[in-house]
């Protein structure tokens, strides 16, 4: 049998982006033996890529702002299928989480009177995003990382977790993985586990996500018997780079539009005025002049349509390109050069300036950018309890992008970084309480460990099988072309069949070389998760016969009020299949429902 090292803790947190780090700080603060396990080096998680800011109703720029408006914006952006309790807690607690970062050393941009400055973003009624230029995610992860390091929290870097194991009572008790540098196996036993593994974007060809976003946490929760929810809701960020091809999909921050940038088609027209949906008509400018005045005066003008929620903008870009009014490389133009001074652009958007200058040879202070939708975020994920972040699998907690509910059918920009902080902390607390109340020593069945390890090693010993790179490529082509931004029944069914074939091919992978730092082998061990989440997204998309937020059906172009009452839950069956069923949300208390009414 293969050998492995063993570690025992109270709380193990898998994933060291914003949510994982915040959870670890909390659990450690409760006096529990806590460790973080992450696939990359510490500080490299995808949080680092977040640009625009963290949404919190601090009211520093607009004193009119408060948690109620933030709650309302989040629910409307999510097309009201959100977990309202999560949206409430998030809006209420985000300000404290931001101030806490400041006390840990973060340096946010300032207002003239020395408070935290806030910027405008799509779907937020007021300028609400605490930020540092366009590198807010870096500030957030570095602050949390430095805090965690100063507290002496144990970190297992470049360590990939393959599977969670349960004890005989059905409590999650162990995690099996391997060290990427050495390829040696490792088993963690703990009283509680927190999944904070982020996104699933690598299953698509054009994505803003890094190699890590393979849906490991989604898949591990599924395999451990936890419920997943809303998996059909995938956010395609409207503005990804489209050229050069090698950087296609790379994120262009919404801050460009928040700071005055506009979208134009090949005729030079600001086409977003043609795509204002009824739901947002009352609060959206209907002339360029009004939209332009809004930047200086939010009270007497309505916001420009370039700042509609992301799903609306992404679909509109898609339509313009399809109608033949796109840019030379298949996107549209994002123009800030003609609207703001070069000094302003370089100060507000320094990393966008460098990104375009160095990767595309485009000077954004003098030329428009070419942009188009890119797979960016999954609203769906593990079903959690709003208060404790507990999943439906005992001993397992989840926070951040891997968890679902807060964002409903579509996430507003800026709500992700605040999500990480609010629910990272709550997951740390929830896991701590669970660990403290758990009796006995978590046990692990050695034969189960052995079988996980053997499964992971299988491609290395197999000759003549398929290359994991080829399989990944085919998966990405499938999801991109059949389960993309606009979906239809026949394509989704075709995708489901294709995924079945890909599953079969995945059982026959061959990898050359050995286990130490072998990216081919690493990819082979990521593919089962990538395939599992692709199945969940496709399955959910087939069931939701309507268009809502990050799920658009060509064959059901409008929202269906009946469908709006349910969320689709998916869970693994012991027989190996996946069960999918609609579930209705608990009714919203009257005082919250009131906030969503017109005029509020």
């Amino acid at each position: 049998m293969p050998e492995y090292e063993s570690h025992e803790y109270d709380v193990i947190i898998i994933g060291a982006g914003g949510a994982g780090l915040r959870a670890a700080i909390e659990a450690h603060g409760k006096g529990l033996r806590t460790a973080l396990v992450c696939k990359s080096l510490l500080g490299k998680a995808h949080t680092v890529m977040a640009e625009g800011g963290a949404a919190a109703a601090l009211g520093n720029v607009w004193p009119e702002d408060n948690w109620k408006v933030h709650f309302r914006d989040t629910m409307r952006g999510g097309k009201t299928v959100n977990n309202w309790r999560m949206a409430q807690l998030h809006a209420q607690e985000a300000p404290d989480r931001i101030y806490e970062l400041e006390a840990w050393g973060a340096l946010f941009d300032r207002t003239a009177d020395g408070r935290i400055l806030q910027r405008d973003f799509g779907g937020h009624r007021y300028a609400r995003l605490a930020h540092v230029g366009d590198r807010t995610g870096l500030e957030l992860i570095r602050t949390l990382q430095q805090r965690a390091v100063s507290l002496g929290i144990d970190v297992f870097m470049e360590c990939k977790i393959l599977k969670l194991l349960k004890d005989s009572d059905g409590q999650v008790s162990a995690a099996v993985g391997y060290w990427r540098p050495t390829g040696e196996f490792i088993v963690f036993t703990a009283k509680a586990f927190v999944l904070a593994t982020g996104s699933i974007g690598r299953s698509w060809k054009y994505t803003s996500n890094s190699w890590e976003s393979t849906g490991d946490g989604h898949a591990m929760a599924l395999w451990a018997g936890a419920d997943l929810i809303d998996m059909e809701f995938v956010q395609f960020h409207p503005t990804g780079m489209v050229w050069p091809l090698s950087v296609r999909g790379l994120l262009v921050t919404e801050g460009v539009r928040g700071d005055g940038g506009v979208l134009r088609n090949s005729d030079g027209k600001r086409f977003m005025f043609d795509y204002i949906p009824e739901m947002f008509a009352a609060e959206t400018a209907d002339s360029e002049a009004e939209g332009d005045r809004w930047y200086e005066d939010h009270t007497n003008n309505r916001r420009p349509p370039e700042l509609l929620p992301r799903d609306e903008v992404a679909r509109s870009i898609n339509s313009e390109v399809k109608a033949g009014r796109g840019s030379p490389h298949g996107g549209v133009f994002l123009d800030i050069a003609s609207r703001r001074s070069p000094e302003y652009i370089r100060r507000r958007l320094p990393s966008m300036y460098h990104q375009f200058m160095e990767l595309a040879g485009v000077d954004i202070t003098t030329e428009p950018m070419e942009v188009g939708p890119t797979c960016h975020y999954v609203m769906g994920g593990i079903r959690v309890d709003a208060e404790s972040a507990a999943t439906t699998a005992p001993g397992l907690f989840a926070a951040g992008e891997v968890a679902a509910g807060l964002h409903g059918a579509n996430r507003l920009g800026g709500n992700s970084l605040s999500d990480l902080l609010v629910f990272g902390r709550r997951a740390g607390l929830g896991a701590s309480e669970y660990a403290e109340g758990r009796t006995g020593t978590p046990s692990v069945d050695n034969s189960e460990v052995d079988s996980v390890i053997e499964g992971a090693l299988a491609p290395l010993g197999r000759d003549g099988g398929e290359s994991p790179y080829d399989l990944q490529n085919d998966l990405q082509e499938t999801m991109q072309s059949l389960v993309g931004i606009i979906r239809t029944e026949s394509e989704l069914t075709a995708a489901d069949e294709a995924l079945g074939e890909l599953d079969e091919r995945a059982a026959n992978l061959s990898v050359s070389g050995a286990t130490p730092y072998n990216p081919g082998w690493n990819l082979a061990t990521d593919l089962p998760s990538m395939l599992a989440v692709s199945r969940l997204v496709t399955g959910g998309a087939i069931q939701r016969k309507e268009s809502r937020g990050g799920h658009t059906r060509d064959d059901f172009p409008g929202p269906d009020p009946e469908m709006g009452k349910v969320n689709f839950v998916q869970r693994y069956l012991d027989t190996g299949g996946i069960e999918i069923e609609p579930t209705t949300r608990p009714e919203m208390p009257e005082e919250l429902a009131e906030l969503l009414k017109e005029g509020n």
């Binding site: 450690h28 990359s40 500080g43 490299k44 020395g114 950087v247 082998w521």
Partner: protein, 269 residues
């Protein structure tokens, strides 16, 4: 797409040694070095090891030495390199793990020794700081921890024996940032002088030249830090001032003590 070929010489091997292997493939428009490495993985050498994450110059994972220059592979465009073979080697200052991947744990160990940020308790209506007072700190906080400055720094690049007593440019900007932070009350100047080896840096500016974030490491961080540390160590009036100041800054022992106090709450320790 052009028909041109690109010829890469990529270092392959591990701690026991290795050599440059040659890979030829068709060039593609607008590619960066990391794209070519990925295509080599997908088509010719599936086990070729390299680190990467964001592919946008924001995470600092894909550091390597390209034609001898410490650079990010994701931000180095192929069409900006001179004609001929492109040579890609791992960072020299850190031990090799495999191929282009090095063991950068030195940096994470140094990070653990940084005495923690320590603000006063917040006033009722929150901390106030002026933009002008945090601008410099924000420059240093742009650091993406690619460790290219550590790689190029000859104090440790050519002298392994200096590593235990030297923090390196990445951490000098961290110390400078904390030193200039309007809220911090922790005095690390003696620590920086005695334990971080600031005096060993002789300001050749190699670190500034390779910084992909264009942080002026030498001019804006190291030189001011050296001045402050020297003042602290040798200026009797400043010394006296510190002694009599009511809200005094902590001595290095106390500063270190602050960290161990935090660690002491960890049941592990």
């Amino acid at each position: 797409m052009s028909e041109r070929e690109v010829n890469m010489r990529v270092w392959r091997g591990d701690a026991n040694g290795g050599n440059f292997e040659k890979y030829s493939l068709a060039s593609q428009e607008g590619e960066v070095v990391l794209d070519v490495i990925h295509r080599i993985q997908a088509t010719q050498a599936p086990d070729l090891a390299c680190r990467w994450n964001c592919k946008a110059g924001k995470c600092g994972s894909c550091s390597a030495e390209i034609n001898g220059k410490p650079s990010l592979m994701c931000m180095t465009r192929m069409d900006e390199l001179p004609e001929g073979d492109v040579v890609v080697a791992p960072m020299k200052t850190f031990p090799i793990l495999r191929d282009l991947v090095t063991d950068v744990s030195f940096n994470y160990e140094v990070a653990k020794r940084v005495p923690a940020f320590q603000p006063p308790p917040p006033p009722e209506d929150g901390y106030r700081m002026q933009q002008v007072d945090i601008q410099r700190g924000q420059e240093f906080r742009k650091c993406i921890e690619c460790f290219l400055c550590q790689d190029v720094c000859h104090v440790i690049r050519d002298h392994e024996e200096n590593k235990p007593a030297y923090a390196g440019p990445r951490f000098f900007i961290r110390y400078a940032e904390l030193e200039m932070h309007p809220l911090d009350t922790n005095d690390r100047r003696e620590f920086v002088r005695q334990k971080a080896g600031l005096g060993m840096c002789n300001i050749t500016k190699c670190c500034t030249e390779v910084c992909p974030e264009h942080i002026k490491i030498t001019d804006n961080a190291i030189i001011p830090l050296k001045e402050r540390v020297v003042d602290a160590a040798y200026d009797p009036i400043a010394w006296l001032g510190r002694k009599v100041r009511q809200k005094r800054k902590l001595t290095p022992e106390e500063a270190v003590g602050t960290v161990s106090h935090d660690v002491a709450t960890d049941p592990d320790s």
